[in-house]
Symmetry: C2
Subunit: 430 residues, 2 copies
């Protein structure tokens, strides 16, 4: 088969994932030839700085450049693989490459979540592939599963551990009883968290991925900016311990549900029953649970990051373009997805976890329970512990109620000046 | 889009899955139209007996027949969906339909595992699709994931809970401490096991599925008859309890590994560490764990049976044929897979679980340990319990060793007449 010309890749970015891709192409060359009947060749590698010492050897025979035009203007290049990250440069490069008729494979969740619509529209106009399996959950092929294998299912809900860094931190806090700050430092020391960890710990990275998951699971364009996002930096060891006592784990979940055609979605610290598979997804792993109206529950678990694991997803996309040719960017006939109808998060119904610090005086429990009852919220479990302090913690796990009712009850409670601290309020998902 | 002609299905079999498919097509008609731009219409339904009362309503507008030719000879039918089960009739029907130029979607694992090579070759010759996602693990899209998403990975191992009935029985035995016979009766009463449960409990069904998984994971044709298969009918509550004491669960695993190009595979009761996700796959659920050389570990979990869940997989295959057109039956360029090089199971290296009933007299433990040591097998954990009987159980969990060494040691031990009963020997997988 060596007389068939190779599939030629222009690779933008040569960090962990870029060099991982080069490594997998080298390791699995025979397999790839058996899969698609030709070799895959990285012709040109775009880097930011030619002088920066490379941690990894460049692919054999590849040219290095700092000029993006060397990728987009090279007619020999079939596919642009964008693994450089960042938004502006990457956006320009992908735009130019689409104009030049190249298919795109990218792992750039931030770019696609924030500016994806324009890029997807351009790809549709040019009838080109814009594949992004590697953007969401690393090696877990959740996008293809949603777009193809489960294509015959209406998805009612999905929830996932979409960020390994924050999951590692929560796992360590839960297992060792250490504080958020200590666990973060440990994650940084191990290379699981960046020096500036904001994107990971504040849920931004998970929200980028959730935006893309919603796109594929429900076939709608959901604006990233409208996604409610809350990180884990305020999750306390106390709440982790209370949750455990109630039979739950606290996880940073990206979740989306479709109710009567409306999407309710967000990224929040969430209590999940310890019996759920997502509750035992620990460390840097990612996991996704989807619920289809035919398949029922489908759960997938794997590495969410790392050079080789992410390269596995990049290569899956490259092979699909090589094999099928016809782009299937949306999973639908239309390549222009309609805007999502959004359900405000406070209309969402779930169980709720409340941790209130109250003055240790008569009638407080009555007042709290009264405020909840007034909003039609009933309590499933409660914990009150004796303490020698002026304020004591009371924890409620409610039955199902709209978030709005909880918020109203909390406003009522705060108005009565019953609380020593800002209340902690998390959703509970089953 | 209603002016585009529908995709026309000939459906063979109208039991749980066939009627599930009709139901999903009805429920998700709008979604399907959005996915492929046309409707899917079941034109003709083949049944065995026209007079048998139907539990489910026939698809609207469909004709019922007992004549297979009404499917294979009808030029209007695009895809034959074979959900009738059995081997001879189904084989003839699929053969005729391929000759008539129709793509095939089937859930018939027994047929494909035992006579698949001929059918796949015929499909290749005719350049037609022969899709069988629904044959393996119901709603879990493991075949597409292996064939496409993880196509860039060399798979080093896969293991799965491939049969829900036997998993339900083992789960109940483990949870409630009941015997195999009691658990089987319970499974039959709940409709999870057939009146004649042989295929499920003796590992035959799991072996059919494993044959197909090996085909797709490793790109080789592995003869079903050469697959070592052992069922669960001899798994005892004692062994389940000993395994638990050692930190393990006993599961009926289908497993395959690729070592230096050779495939070592089989279906056996196996000890798996309680920390593995496959160990907490309980009840009628199925799960598969695969290990790719780029992706690392990928775990999937879902419903392995049931009308709607299996129909989800059937529909995924139908939609793929509608979308892509090009058949990708093997996941490789060649549609004629090479024969597997088979590694004899006794060369396989793993940890081992041994449960021996020995005479309660001095020197027995020394003799047992001596026989193991003579074969180079070292012991990782041992349990010996005092009992007021002439024979006492001794349990060993060995370090890694070839199965051959264990078998030799057991032969030695049996030759010395040390055992009161036939030894219990299971593999331990991590």
């Amino acid at each position: 088969m060596s007389n068939i010309s190779p599939l030629v890749i222009g690779l933008a970015g040569f960090g962990t994932v870029g060099s991982g891709l080069a490594e997998v192409l080298r390791l699995n060359q025979d397999l790839i030839r058996a899969r698609i009947g030709r070799d895959i060749r990285i012709k040109t590698v775009l880097v930011r700085d030619l002088k920066k010492p490379r941690t990894y050897a460049l692919p054999e025979g590849a040219t290095v450049t700092v000029n993006p035009d060397d990728l987009s203007n090279d007619p020999e290049i079939d596919i642009l693989v964008e693994l450089m990250g960042g938004k502006d440069l990457a956006c320009d490069l992908i735009t130019d490459a689409l104009h030049a008729g190249k298919n795109i494979v990218t792992a750039n969740k931030a770019l696609l979540a924030e500016k994806g619509t324009e890029l997807f529209n351009l790809a549709a106009e040019k009838n080109l592939g814009l594949a992004f399996e590697a953007s969401v959950c690393g090696a877990i092929p959740i996008l293809q599963v949603l777009r193809e294998s489960l294509a015959g299912n209406k998805i009612s809900s999905l929830m996932g551990i979409l960020n390994g860094t924050s999951n590692y931190i929560l796992s360590e806090m839960s297992e060792k009883g250490i504080s958020f700050e200590t666990a973060l430092k440990e994650a940084q020391a191990k290379g699981y968290a960046e020096a500036d960890p904001t994107f990971d710990i504040e849920g931004v990275d998970a929200a980028h991925k959730l935006t893309l998951l919603i796109r594929i699971a429900f076939g709608v364009d959901y604006p990233f900016k409208q996604l409610g996002t809350q990180g884990i930096s305020e999750v306390s060891t106390e709440d982790i311990a209370f949750a455990r006592e109630l039979g739950y784990r606290i996880k940073l979940l990206g979740q989306a549900r479709c109710l009567n055609g409306k999407i309710e979605a967000g990224v929040y610290p969430t209590l999940v029953s310890k019996n759920m598979q997502i509750a035992s997804t620990d460390g840097v792993f990612n996991a996704v649970h989807v619920e289809g109206n035919a398949a029922g529950p489908v759960f997938m678990h794997g590495r969410g990051a790392g050079g080789l694991a992410t390269a596995s997803a990049v290569l899956g996309d490259i092979l699909e373009i090589a094999r099928c040719g016809k782009p299937n960017n949306t999973g639908f006939m239309t390549q222009y997805l309609p805007a999502a109808e959004i359900m405000p998060s406070d209309e969402a119904i779930s169980q709720h976890y409340l941790h209130l610090m109250v003055s240790d005086k008569p009638g407080v429990l009555r007042d709290l329970a009264g405020a909840l009852a007034e909003q039609g919220v009933s309590v499933a479990q409660a914990i009150q512990k004796e303490q020698g302090h002026s304020h004591v913690p009371i924890v409620f796990l409610t039955h199902e109620a709209p978030a709005k009712s909880i918020n109203n009850a909390l406003a009522l409670i705060q108005a009565k000046n019953l609380l020593g601290h800002r209340p902690v309020h998390y959703r509970v998902l089953k």
